[in-house]
Each structure stands twice: as C-alpha cells, then as structure tokens.
Amino acid sequence: MKKSLYELLIENALFLTALLSCFIILIISAFIFIEGLPAIQEYGFFKFLLGNLWSPNDGEFGVFSMIAGSLYVTFLALLISTPLSVLCATFMAEVAGEKVRNILKPIIQTLSGIPSVVYGFFGLVVLVPFIMSHFGGSGFSVITAALILSVMILPTIISVSYDSLRAVPGEYREASLGLGATGWQTIRRVVIPSALPGIITAIILGMGRAVGETLAVIMVVGNVSKIPYSIFEPARTLTSNIALEMSYATGIHYHALFTTAVILFILIMLLLVVVKCIQRRFSLDISGGSL
C-alpha cells in the first residue's frame, strides 16, 4: 500500500515511543546491575545471597534474612488475602444483585487507589498497639506487616478477579443452570474454572505489590535484620533495607544496596516465572489443550 510521507512520519514517531519503553528497562537494569557489581566483586555473590549477617559498619552484607523476611511477609499476606478476595469477587460477580454491584464496584476501585502509606499508617497507629497488647512483643512483626499488606492488596485482587469473572460468557451459566445445576455448582464447576487465568493474574498482581511494597512495611515490620522464626517476631524485607539505609550509605555499603535491588529483581522474576508456568497449565486446561 502506498503511504504518504505524513503517514510514514507518524508511524515512525509512534515506533520510537514504543522502543523507548524497552530502552528504559534496559537502562534501569543496566544501571542497577553496574552499580551493584562492586559489592558482589568485593564480598562475593553467594556470601551476599546466603550470608545471614547484615552489618555495614563491620563490612558484613548478607541479605539472606531479608530474602526470608520478604518471602515470609509476602506469602503470609497472600495466604490471608487470596481466599478472602476471590470469595469477595465471586460474591460481587455472581451473587450480588445489579444494585449492590454498582455500589461496590466504585468502592473497590477507590480502595485500590488508596496510597499504601495510608495503610501503613493505619497499621502503625492501630494494628501495632493491638498486636502488642494481645500477643506480646513490640507489636512490630511479620504478622502485622502481612495483615497490612493483605488489606492493601485486597482491592487489587478483588477488582481484577471480578473483571475476569464478569467476562465469563452468560451462555456458560445458562447452559449449566439449564442442566439443573445449582448456582454454587455453576460457579464452582463452570464460572471459576473459566475465569481462573484472570484470577491467577490478579493474584500475581497482588503478589507483586506485596513483595515490592516498601514504606508501609517499614512502618510495621520492625526492620530487624534477622530471620524471623515466628510470625510475632520482627523482620526486615529487601525493599525496606534499601529505603532505610540509602540516605547514609557510602562506598561498598552504597553498592550493597544496589545489589539488594538486584536480588529483589531476581526474586521477582523467579516468582513471575513460577506463576506464569502455573497459569499456562491452567489456561491450557480450560482451552482443551493436552496436559
């Protein structure tokens, strides 16, 4: 097809904008890796990854306890949040009437826009004292952080799951109900399986937010860099490690924070890969592919 110069110009301009987003990700990764490299060279990658002691003043930079802290807090948050939010989304999409739905949808939307710092602040002034008086300790703990994170990611998981539940064609429901299935049987055997890829996406999004959340976690987790053995002990996450020490880090300590970011990067990529594999299995399942 013949194209005018004007059309070509526009196409190329748009092409540039598209390239830019790839370019940015390259720059960021490159920059973080390069800045993190000196710490790895000096301290050793495996010592860094598996070392248990983080003490910048003594030249010790082991982040293992923080990896543990991040994973601990994230999975606990998902454990609390996933069942609640999927059930809530199902309620909104399948049980609630049109009116209730129209009220709840914008509420959930608004809630997912509430800054995480606000949730963290709520945790600090309400949840920390509550945990302290009922379960002892300082109140700054893994469970406090997990509760705050789970509340924070509820709206995200709910709204994305809700959308994918609503996207299930009405014919499926009619077909199932028409065969004499009850509402719950239809939901369990037809609607949820069809919406599963979307629900998993929702959980991934929630997981991403939880693992990456920084300040809200700092406010309630205690920030002690040792492996937490109980949910009532304090911990430190990878993200909070960066935020807490960036303001005064110099020399290898400075680079060690970039290495922490690299580890965080890798951790997130690994989690993404795992979840993508699970997602692929499920979407194959419903589209009739062989397993």
């Binding site: 059309e7 710092v117 959340e213 300040l215 997130i268």
Partner: protein, 283 residues
Amino acid sequence: MKSFLSPGTSHKIMNSVLIFSGVLTISVLVIILAFILIEGLPAIDLEFIFGGVKDQGRSGGIFPVIVSSLYVTLISVLIAAPLGVGAAIYVVEYAENRKLVNIIRFGAETLASIPSIVFGLFGFAFFVMFLKMGWSVFSAGLVLAIMAIPTIFQVVEVSLRSVPSTYKEGSYGLGATKWQTICNVILPAAIPGIVTGIILAMTRAISEAAAVMYTVGSSVSMPISMFDPGRPLPLHLYILATEGISLQNAFATAAVLVIIVMVITFLTNYFTQRYQNKMMGNL
C-alpha cells in the same frame, strides 16, 4: 464431587459463605478508610490546606506539600501519557512484527513489576547524582513517569484492542488512511479506556512515596521551579508518622490524600460513563 451434602444444601451454605466474605472484606476496608477520615477530618480546615508547614509539620498546614504532590504528578503524566499511548497505538495498529510486539510487551510487564523503591534507587543514582539534577520535583516527576508508562501502555493497549474491527473496516472502506482511521474512529472509541489508564497512572503517582523519597528530597518549602526540591503528601505522611512528629497532622494528611484519590476516581468514573453513554446512544 463426593459430598455428604446435597447440591441444594451446599448451594445454600456456599451462598452464605460468599455473602459473608464479601461483606466482611468490604467492611474491613471501609472501616479503615472511615477511621482515617474520622480521625483526620476534624484537623482539616482552610488554614491546614493553605498554610505553610511549620516546625517540621508539628503545626501549620500542608500547602507546599499539596503543591509538591500536584507538581510531580503533573510532570509524570505529561511525560508518560504521550509515550504510553503512542507505544500502545504502535503495538496495536502498526506493528507487524510479532517478535517486536512481544519484546515491547515484555518490557512493559517487567517495568510494571519492578518495586517502586528500585525506581527510587535508580532515580537517585541516575537523575539526582549521575545527571546532577539534584533533589527536585523534576527528578521525581521523571521517575514517576517511568513507573507510569507501563500502566498507561497496558490499559490503553487493552482498550484499543477492544475497539470492534468493524469500525476499522468501515473507515478503511470509505477510503480513510490509517492515521485518519486511528484519529477519527479508533481513538474516540477508546477514549474511556485511555482516560482510565492515564488516571490510574495518576493516582499511583500521587500515592507514591518510596520512589520519590530519594529523588525529591524532603524540603517543606514551596517548590516554584521544576528544579526545586519538595515533599509530596505520602512522603510527608510517612515522615510525620515514623518520626513521631504529629499524629494529628499525620491523620489529617492521610485524610487529604484519601479524599484526593476518592475525588479523582469519582470524577473519572462519572465522565467516562457519561461519554460512553453518549457514544452508545443511551442518552
């Protein structure tokens, strides 16, 4: 499913479970919001909104903080919106090379999954130190823009793809060029999605604290030029709360943030809904 319960009974039980968990979840969230608003609203008055920060936030108002927030948000959206929307248009309407599309999508996905503190770290090392832009609303705006691009890209891509191909065919059939078709048919039909994407990115930017912490500084004076430092609302709240400066002002700041987000969400919903109704002939 082997079950002791009859289908009818389990339907009834599960219905109650669903209703219960729905009500519980939403109540928890609403109670938290209400708590913040109830504690914060009494401390908000004109002087608080329009006054300068005094004594590190122990007294006075938060006007420079609000201005910082708007400033960084505006900069980020002005940069990110054209880029994100442009990239989405390219990918949906022009790109013929599947590989390229996948690379761009992968880039956006990766960008979206990076924690905000890493962006903050990058912004600090790259914009603030390496490019010597210093702690400024511009540095922070740039970092927020980078974070906003994938959000806008992803939402806009979905909404462009959902424009029925019959519109496109109709337009080409009348002899429109590609760009005419995009401008006159596809974009207008996708406007609600585009606006939603941009607003979503905006609420994220206005809520972000970790990414701006080491890029905007924490100055409480009024930022005038783009290269002045500032302190956006979430950061102010974080500092007030963690340094134990003033619980009351922290509540008030949190309430202001919540109200801003609520208003933005409400207005967007209202206008996109209206536009959609008008377009689809329901008005």
